[in-house]
């Protein structure tokens, strides 16, 4: 019995030892490798220029909020929402899009929610890159300078669209989510101040050459293009004129003689064009606008009011619009992007192109009283479209401005909300858009965001 007891004592002691060593090594047992196999830590992401560049191009192609495609306004959201609001497009589909057209938008509209959310998700990416490269000894000064400039242009572009869609918006320039989540709306002028700060800084940092092949990442003229547009919207006519002029004079860009090549990779007039994100699908614009099959009703047919603006012989009507015959009806749809499938050469997604810069210079010149210069720029655009010179009275500023606006309408339709913003900034919306009321100039803030941040206030008219 005694022997057995001592034998068991050994077992017992052994058991206790195991238990004790388990206790001691507890911390080790819950240790994991530094990062999961399918992710890297933020520190690793900015450990060298290659991975930093991965994060930078992540900004250009991927939106972490919708976990998928898109630069800023994926799924052609911005184009559709503003196109419907400006009555460039009509609708045949569901209610959320219809609300833009009929000015019955509610704060619950799901498209409005994405117009608000996606830019902020991308802005986090931008701010995180800026934070990651600041004081980072792993990166060369020139590389940091280039990337900082690119991110500043990108940030400015996001805020430019946000402020035009929603008015005053929270101004987020860091990744401090605790503070950022509860920021109130900054005034529109504060937002513009930030935009100008970013762009002026970028202008100092970016070279006139592109950092990679094509025109896929911002250079100096990309910054200037946005700067020209911002000044135009701010009615800083001279500044707008100067920036646009410097781009045109740089000689780096020229209008594509063939309309069908404007949106293709390698376009001569592209100031910033992003490669499409899929090697199988085309741009989101093409997917949304082109009916999947002939004889099928396009989701967003072009309105008669826009069709009527195309003069006889306007090549843009035949090259940038297409038709679908449904029964006895001929329905037009946007056809700037023709790549339901990827095309060869590839279609890129145009952010800025020279034609817009011509029209910015034209408008600024007209506002400055240089009416003939303004008409000359308009005529440059018209000539490319196969039209003769404008018949506008060169002595009437109003007539010249109207000619510029008409050319903007037909040249820049379905691009980056230009028509919608033009009508609102020039005060012509009420006259041009039946049913439009002044409060419709801004979209409502998404109701969910107001619930999440009680400091946000709703735009007037949307209660």
């Amino acid at each position: 019995m005694k022997k057995l007891f001592s034998y068991n004592n050994k077992i017992l002691a052994g058991g206790l030892l195991i238990a004790f060593s388990t206790l001691v090594s507890c911390k080790k047992l819950v240790e994991l490798p530094g990062n999961p196999p399918t992710q890297i830590t933020r520190q690793q992401a900015f450990s060298d220029s290659a991975s930093t560049l991965s994060a930078v191009v992540g900004v250009y192609t991927y939106n972490q909020d919708n976990q998928g495609d898109g630069f800023a306004y994926s799924d052609a959201n911005l184009t559709i929402a503003t196109g419907l609001s400006a009555h460039e497009l009509s609708y045949t589909s569901s209610s959320d899009e219809q609300e833009f057209y009929s000015y019955t938008l509610t704060p619950l509209n799901s498209e409005v929610a994405t117009l608000w959310q996606y830019p902020y998700a991308s802005l986090y990416q931008v701010n995180d890159v800026l934070g990651g490269i600041t004081n980072n000894s792993n990166l060369s000064a020139s590389f940091v300078k280039q990337i900082t400039g690119e991110m500043e242009v990108t940030r400015a572009l996001y805020y430019f669209n946000l402020v035009n869609l929603f008015g005053s918006v929270p101004l987020v320039t860091s990744t401090d989510y605790v503070a950022n989540a509860q920021l109130p709306r900054a005034s529109a002028s504060a937002v513009y101040t930030q935009i100008l700060t970013d762009l002026n800084n970028a202008v100092k940092k970016l070279p006139s050459t592109y950092p990679s092949s094509g025109h896929a990442r911002p250079n100096l003229y990309t910054a200037l293009a946005l700067l020209a547009k911002v000044h135009l919207y701010q009615k800083n006519w001279q500044a707008a004129y100067n920036e646009a002029d410097s781009i045109i004079r740089s000689g780096g860009y020229s209008l594509e003689p063939t309309l069908n090549n404007v949106f293709l990779d390698g376009s001569q007039e592209a100031i910033w064009q992003l490669p499409i994100e899929s090697s199988y699908d085309g741009t989101a614009e093409a997917a949304n606008f082109m009916p999947y099959s002939t004889g099928v009703t396009p989701t967003f047919p072009v309105t008669d009011s826009l069709l009527n603006q195309f003069e006889t012989g306007d090549q843009r009507k035949t090259n940038w619009l297409d038709t679908s015959v449904v029964g006895s009806q001929t329905l037009y749809y946007p056809y700037k992007y023709k790549d339901y499938y990827p095309t060869s050469p590839a279609t890129d997604f145009m952010v800025f192109r020279l034609a817009e810069i011509y029209l910015i210079r034209a408008e600024a010149a007209a506002e400055l009283g240089n009416l003939s210069a303004a008409l000359a720029d308009v005529n440059t655009i018209r000539a490319r479209a196969g039209l003769g010179a404008s018949t506008a009275n060169v002595t009437s500023q109003a007539a010249v401005l109207a000619a510029v606006m008409k050319e903007r309408q037909t040249e820049l339709c379905f691009e980056w909300g230009n028509r919608w913003f033009d009508l609102n900034r020039t005060g012509k919306a009420a006259a041009e858009l039946p049913g439009w009321q002044s409060f419709n100039a801004l979209f409502p803030l998404p109701q969910a965001q107001i619930q999440l941040n009680h400091l946000l206030t709703q735009n007037p008219g949307y209660h």
């Binding site: 994060a55 972490q64 704060p107 986090y124 701010n127 987020v172 899929s278 107001i450 619930q451």
Partner: protein
Amino acid sequence: MNFYPLTKRARQSRRRPLHQLFRIMKLTALIITIAILHVSAKVVAQKVTLNEQQVSLDKVFKDIRAQTGYDFLIGNGLIEKAGLVTINVKNADLKDVLKTILRAPLTYEMVNKTVVVKNQEISFFDNLKDKAAKLFVLPTDITGRVIDSLGQPLVGASVSLKETKYNTLTDNKGNFTFSSVPQGKYTLIVSYIGYSKLEIDIQVEGKDLKLAEVLHTATSALDQVQVIGYGTESKRFSIGSIAAVNANAIEKQPVTNPLLALEGQAPGLAVTAMNGVPGSTVLVQVRGQNTLGASSLGLKPYDQPLFIIDGVPSATGNANISQLSNLAQAQGFTGGISQATGIGAFNDINPNDIESITILKDADATSIYGSQGANGVVLITTKKGKPGKTTFDLNVNSQFNEVARPIQLLNTQQYLQLRKDAFAADDLTPSSNPNDPGYAPDLTIFDQNKYTNWQKIIQGNNTNNTDIHASISGGTANNTFLVSGGYTRSDYNYPGNFSDQRYTLHSALHNTSADKRFTLDLATDYGYNQNNSAGFGNQYVLLPPNTPDLTDGNGNLIWSYKGVPLNTGNFYKSLKQPDNLSSFNFNSSLHLNYQILQGLTFGVNLGYSRNTATEHSIDPSTAQDPSYIDISASFANNSAQTINIEPQINYTKTIGKGVLTALAGGTYEKNSTDASQTDAYGYTNDDFLGSINGAATTYPYDNINIFKYVALFSRLKYIYDQKYILEFSGRRDGSSNFGPGRQFGNFGSIGAGWIFSEEKAFKEAFPFFSYGKLSGSYGTTGGDASQAYSYQALYQTVSYVSDFQGIRQIYPYNLYNPDFSWATKKSLNLALDFGFFNNRLLLNATYYRDREGDQLVSYPLAAQAGFATVYGNLNAVVQNQGWEFSASSTNIKTKDFNWTTNFNLSFNRNKLVSFPNLAASSYAGQYIIGQPTSVIIGYRYKDVNPTTGLFEFYAANGTVTSHPHYGTAAQGGDEVVIGNREINYMGGFGNTFTYKRFSLYVFCQFSSSEQPNYLSAVYSTIPGTMNNVPEYILGKYWEAPGDHATLQRLASGYSSSSINAESAFNQSSGAYGNDTYLRVKTAALSYALPDAWLKKVNIKNASLFINAQNLFTITNYKAGDPEQPGSFTAFPLQRIVAFGLNLKF
């Protein structure tokens, strides 16, 4: 052979100096052997036919046993005493036979199905001798042995002399000893978990006393063994709040997912079937929702318990294992609660292989699971072999199913009239022009007389399901085995060749070493499940009934009708885009145990659980419009595994009048999940769709998650005098899910119980009480709802996107917060148990109050922060308190007719107790202090304005409007609390009737809550637009001024001016209503074939049965299934009827 001669085991008493004198008077022990027999439920004739000539009693007993099944228990030497017997009887009564063969001094006593043969009353002479002996009385040693029906010793049984200090436990040979027991009359009490308590009067008077007593197994639910965390216990001495559902309740339900068989069966357990797709997941929740929103904006999470199968934490839990679109993924209902469905891994477990499912609810039961136990624990125990003859058991059934609660939709005439009314209401003329606001191809282009009942086409097909389950089991007392295999095929009543097929193999081995010190238990489950379903398509029940033909006679799809594209509504497309999922489930547990010393054992649980799901879906050219062919396929793999190592030490010791059991152990767990998906595009040919290589372009995605977990745990339980129970349990946990410094936490509970029915005074005052227990516990558990690594900021590679100029893109994956840790739940539980009429009626009432604080949430952030959520602890407290009642009763117990009833009823009340600074938080519009977490905030609905025909609501200032404002009053809107989605009460009751060879089991389940009503489903599309609606709304909508209608005027399309009021309606109290139902969940009728007939074909048992699930429902829910409120488009729940045969060889 069930003969148990009483062994004479004289044991030397310890000699003490004082007693030396009386050495000659040394009294040998009183020998007691207590046999504990398994109850045999067989109905056996008590008539015997014998023709024996001069044989030993032994032989006669054997023959009687063979004929009657009665066991015999005979004192040592008594057989010899009886000598040889001769008997010749035919169909004689057993009692008469026994009288004949047992001559004085032998007599017998029958206890249940055992005949105890013993000496007759002590003779006068013996008595005299005894009295003389008493003059020299000495303390006596009592020894005995406790064995079971196979003669195997029961180790650790509690033996005591009532109201004395004599308490002991049997040793590893089943022996026990009481030293130096003074003379007197005693009550010997023997108890052992799973066997009913035995009380025997004995007399210690310094003389050999031969006693033979029988202790039979429990017939009372009170003494049945129930599985608890790291052990077993009987209900009698349990303090924890535990509910168990046993095999006999599970087996009778023709369901494929065992969790579905729990619906209504256990108090405090809410089980919700999400849709009727075979193989789909089932929602399970214990005692309400403890956590606040953890998922993305607006969606509230649904707490689910920890699932443990044979001691191994399930690798997948109750999660969806499918990644691609399939019919099972359709949302069951909406309303702000995250309840995504899909295919569940539990579907890979055959319900027929489950012995019991135990639900642990309070801290006493769950604290031992520490940080993982906050939402309750569900323990699934699979079947083990039983000693005895090798038995082959075969169960075959064939099933038919149909929609349990179909909705009547409009026919063409009714539908077209509704559409015309809608256009009239909008002052629009139906137009064939797609660009016209009045575009209505169904009114202007489609055939006005064509009628297709889409519901019948989509949900009305005949099914023919098969379920086969066979098992072989048996073994000796030391070695048992069980192997079973199953095949189940569940059809859909959906068209197309889709089904869920499951193959399972279950095995269990048990070994006890010859010296009884070492035991081994190995249980292994394999399951292979093949679930083929359409990728989507059930929503097409709402297609206009005059939709043109969508296929030609040869099964080719038609894509347009007179210029109207049919692509968006082509139901048949979905049949050609199947999702095929194969899942492989493996669960294995090995439990080794070694007894080091009397009462001290060391053991280890080793477990491995793995589930692998492979999924493939295709979009072939035959499913696509020929003008735009995009042949593609998706391939997904999903695997999850858990490795679990748990060393344990158990110690049992008698201390005074009590028994102390102690458990100490540790856990090491590693869980990893690995998901990948490849979307493949650009196939040139449908035939290549099975291979990724055939694609021109592929987009891969993968995600790997690792979780490690360590813990030390212990439990102490002390039962004093079979009356007072005290229990402590504690656990120290470490989890890799939390940042450094936050990984470790402590959890514990204390519980106490008082079996007051054992108190003398109580017994005397209330003799009809056979059992009464008051118990309570208080303790903590934790909630760990986070993901691995989420405390640090991570970057991830993008998916589904091409390179950017040759550079692979990365993006921020989450926000940085190293400071979060688990939520802490504090639970109070009080319970009162009663047993009446010898425990034929058992009642339980339980009160509990759970409070979860330090809420671990994915805190919703305003979009401007860049991410929708961030993990963090929130200083908010959610309380669930409630009452649970259960009863089980044997109402009638006669020879031919038995009737038993089970009943349970639960009330849970959920409340957000505190939330500092709620108004300034992201949750301001989502939760309200004092309200349940499922609170619904919306507009207060008034009625339909008779003049405008629009829905009307109360604004915040009390005025009436058809255009209420968004937001709560604090936000300047009109939204107020309009209800909540808590279950007000739920429960179930089952009755089992057996009459001779017939057995009928009827189980009803009921539930009452406030849910989206049928109008919520009606208004999820707009009545009057190009969608079918239930017939129920006809005659209810407003048509002309002055109408007092239930529903507002129709709208022909989204441009209708009545749209705003319609969308407000779905956020108003008008779209919610009381949802109460009583469902005859299970009805099972079986008939056992006569034995005489079976003997001829050498079959032990055979029965025929009909089992039905969801037989019918009584409800106030107007259209659709009350279990799937607010949706007409989720795949409906099914009524299943199974016809089958069970054979035992």
